[in-house]
């Protein structure tokens, strides 16, 4: 039996060889969209699809604004579906692209777009944005007006350009960032000031430890974000999207700050999700056992930072304060920008009208102040337009609010205030590996066993080398 199987396998291999030599590939080499001379046709019915990860509550908001949109463009029929969570959407769209069945519009992170772009499936938006072609039956133009462009928070808008070739790939929808949550009662009681730089942070940690020796002064949920943010703040180099992707993080400056963090970790100044064994936000809201008085986490996850609601009347065990994350250098303030953008996808069967319709819808979602405001209020993410803060409903929401809403509003406010400081890490095929690897390397360096200083250096060197090897493999 085994001989026969081997014979069959060998013959299969040969057949494959022939197939491989004669194999052909679909070829659509250019993905820069050229706006057709005839422009958008408002009389022709266009079907477009939109894949996202919105929960039920956000889908309600979306449906309302699809109805609004259809008042303007009744001929554009939009079907939307949720692909589950963030972990699922890119795998699904990858497969759909392979089958030529991709949605017209998709929720995306830069890493995802980099992957879709290998298949040249992402429509670049530059020509669409620049077009001043009038849309029949409306007073609108196809592209963005100067006023619209100026209304975008610049760093969000520039995220679409993070792909190393200067072209615009995505439009920002709603964003989140990292903020520092702290126990306001504890800080007031002990006369502590909220740290604004890392140096102050470590001083504060020392003070807190003196007050409560059993605590972790600081919890940081995402190790990878921490590493990347520090690289950006110190300008020591992380990755670059040039030349199809370069890994720059294996350098002495980064090793130095990792070593410093290790010392602080060994002193018990902080913990992270993986090191602690659970979300540090859980530690933060805890009031009985081991505590953690500061916690750096996503502004979109404010609900997890709520102190335990022990009483029925809605009062909390302690007041949660929110502040921007510490900086390394006041001259070079950097904070990571996350949250969904929108990209337009194309395949062999995508028509120009579909792309135009998709663009009109993307433009609508990203530039409509009411939608941006409502979406932000429902999700806790930050609007991408400056003028949203002037929206009356939104301003009211930001100003009042209590409990959870208050916290969300606070987060959003900090996000809006820090809008000039945003960065996004470069996106290319391999950027998600780099992110995983730096997270793992930081953990290894913080907690690995090492007897003396030389051993620590050796540990750090190996960890960096291993990470870079995995990235470049």
């Amino acid at each position: 039996m085994s001989k026969k199987i081997i014979a069959v396998l060998l013959s299969l291999v040969m057949v494959m060889g022939i197939l491989a030599l004669t194999g052909c590939n679909a070829n659509n080499s250019n993905n820069a969209f050229a706006v057709p001379e005839t422009g958008f046709n408002p009389d022709e019915v266009v079907e477009i699809t939109f894949t996202h990860t919105m929960g039920a509550k956000l889908q309600e908001v979306l449906n309302t604004y699809i109805a609004e949109f259809n008042k303007l463009y009744p001929n554009i029929h939009i079907t939307h579906q949720s692909a589950g969570g963030w972990g699922d959407i890119n795998g699904q769209i990858n497969t759909e692209i392979a089958g030529g069945n991709q949605p017209n519009i998709a929720y995306c992170y830069p890493d995802h777009v980099a992957m879709y772009n290998i298949a040249k499936s992402v429509v670049t938006l530059d020509n669409l944005i620049a077009s001043d072609m009038a849309i029949p039956g409306t007073e609108e133009i196809l592209g963005l007006t100067d006023a619209q462009k100026a209304d975008f928070i610049e760093s969000y808008y520039n995220e679409g350009l993070a792909y190393g070739d200067g072209l615009m790939y995505t439009m920002p929808l709603n964003k989140s960032t990292e903020v520092l949550y702290y126990d306001k009662d504890f800080f007031t009681e002990n006369n502590l000031t909220v740290p604004t730089t890392w140096e102050e942070m470590w001083e504060t940690c020392e003070k807190i430890l003196a007050i409560d020796p059993d605590c972790y002064p600081l919890g940081y949920d995402a190790e990878d974000n921490w590493f990347i943010t520090l690289c950006e703040q110190m300008e020591t180099g992380y990755t670059s999207a040039e030349n199809g992707g370069e890994y720059l993080f294996n350098n002495d400056a980064n090793k130095a700050f990792v070593k410093e963090l290790r010392e602080y970790y060994q002193k018990g100044y902080f913990t992270t999700q993986e090191l602690y064994g659970s979300y540090t936000s859980n530690l933060f809201v805890e009031t009985t056992d081991t505590r953690c008085y500061m916690c750096i986490g996503s502004s979109g996850g404010a609900s997890y930072q709520m102190s335990n609601n022990d009483t029925a009347d809605g009062t909390f065990a302690f007041e949660v304060g929110v502040a921007p994350i510490p900086q390394y250098n006041a001259e070079n303030r950097k904070v990571i920008s996350q949250g969904p953008s929108l990209c337009i996808l194309q395949g062999a069967s995508t028509t120009d009208q579909q792309i135009l319709a998709s663009w009109l819808f993307v433009k609508f979602l990203c530039t409509n102040v009411d939608f941006q405001a409502e979406f932000s209020m429902a999700s806790g993410y930050m609007p991408v337009l400056k003028s949203v803060t002037e929206n009356e409903n939104y301003a009211n929401w930001l100003a009042k609010g209590n409990g959870y809403e208050y916290l969300v509003a606070k987060c959003v406010q900090i996000g809006i205030d820090g809008r000039d400081n945003y960065f996004v890490s470069p996106a290319f095929n391999g950027s998600s590996t780099a992110r995983t690897q730096v997270g793992a390397l930081l953990l290894k360096c913080l907690s690995g066993e090492a007897a003396d200083d030389a051993a620590v250096d050796a540990l750090i060197n190996t960890a960096f080398q291993d990470a870079i090897d995995e990235c470049e493999y």
Binding site: A56, K57, S278, E286
Partner: protein, 298 residues
């Protein structure tokens, strides 16, 4: 031979006079069996218990660093949420339809193939069977993209066909049933041939009743498969008319940032598992010695 006989005679004598010592051994061995089974049962039961208590927790408690073994506050409202948020009725019917149709068709295909492999002689049988086994060894994830393209070309996107047909054949089940069929003495088949009984009739009258426990095991596994399938249905038929339970649940109970609201999701899983559990309770009777064994005499 003679030694065996002597042994048997001796033991037969022993049977008639059970000494106190033997009684104790018997009781001990019985209690040992029970203790063993009870401990294993507890271990096996633990996840089920966990699922139930998780479904009754608040999201905050669920996410706690130190898991609680009993919810502080029983959130029966999770069940209400689960019932109202997702369109459970439709999801349930879709899944039931896919589960039943694919189980039935799959059973027919499996029985026919297993019969051919167990009873019929044909050229290349061993090689073919070996190759079937070999196909089980490649990680199925590599097939996903190719199968997606195939289904797309066949025009099956967003149909129940796409959910049912690609997974009708399971080499695992063919293999399992073949093993079972091969245990049934060949003499029965040859006798049936002499009597002029057709293959199908023989299958239906003898083979199927005798391997009912295995067939029911396959049914359970197949139904469970339909209940738990997630990635493939999401790719080929995630529209409202065809959505399956797991997909519907995952989509319905994500919070604003796209993270799952596990307690409500667990509640929903518990709700949809209940009917399945009842079906199993009924089938259990058949798996457990409800089978007539009259045909095997001789």
């Amino acid at each position: 031979m003679s030694k065996n006989n002597a042994n048997a005679v001796m033991q037969e004598r022993d049977i008639h006079k059970i000494t106190a010592g033997q009684l104790i051994t018997r009781i001990l061995s019985k209690s040992f069996t029970y203790i063993f089974l009870l401990i294993m049962a507890l271990i096996v039961l633990f996840p089920f218990y966990w699922m139930i208590i998780s479904s009754l927790k608040t999201l905050a408690e669920y996410r706690q660093a130190i898991p609680t073994f009993w919810p502080r506050q029983l959130m029966f409202v999770n069940y209400v949420d689960a019932f109202t948020t997702a369109n459970l009725g439709d999801l349930f019917l879709n899944t039931l339809y896919v589960g039943l149709v694919s189980t039935l068709l799959s059973l027919v295909i499996t029985v026919l193939s297993a019969f051919a492999f167990a009873r019929l002689e044909f050229k290349g049988k061993e090689t073919l069977f070996g190759m079937l086994l070999a196909t089980m060894m490649i990680p199925g994830e590599l097939f996903t993209i190719t199968n997606y393209i195939t289904v797309n070309r066949l025009g099956w996107m967003h149909t129940f066909t796409a959910l049912i047909v690609p997974f009708l054949v399971s080499v695992f089940y063919i293999y399992l049933l073949r093993q079972n069929f091969m245990q049934i003495p060949n003499e029965l088949y040859l006798a049936a041939k002499v009597d002029g009984t057709s293959d199908i009739k023989y299958l239906w009258k003898v083979m199927i009743p005798l391997s009912l426990p295995t067939l029911i095991s396959i049914t359970i596994l197949k139904m469970m498969g339909a209940w738990n399938s997630y990635i493939w249905p999401k790719l080929v038929a995630n529209d409202d008319a065809h959505q399956m339970i797991t997909n519907g649940l995952r989509n319905a109970f994500t919070d604003t940032s796209g993270q799952a609201n596990y307690p409500v999701q667990m509640a929903a899983v518990a709700i949809v598992s209940a009917p399945l559990f009842l079906v199993f309770l009924c089938l259990r009777k058949y798996i457990m010695s409800g089978v007539s064994r009259s045909g095997i005499k001789g």
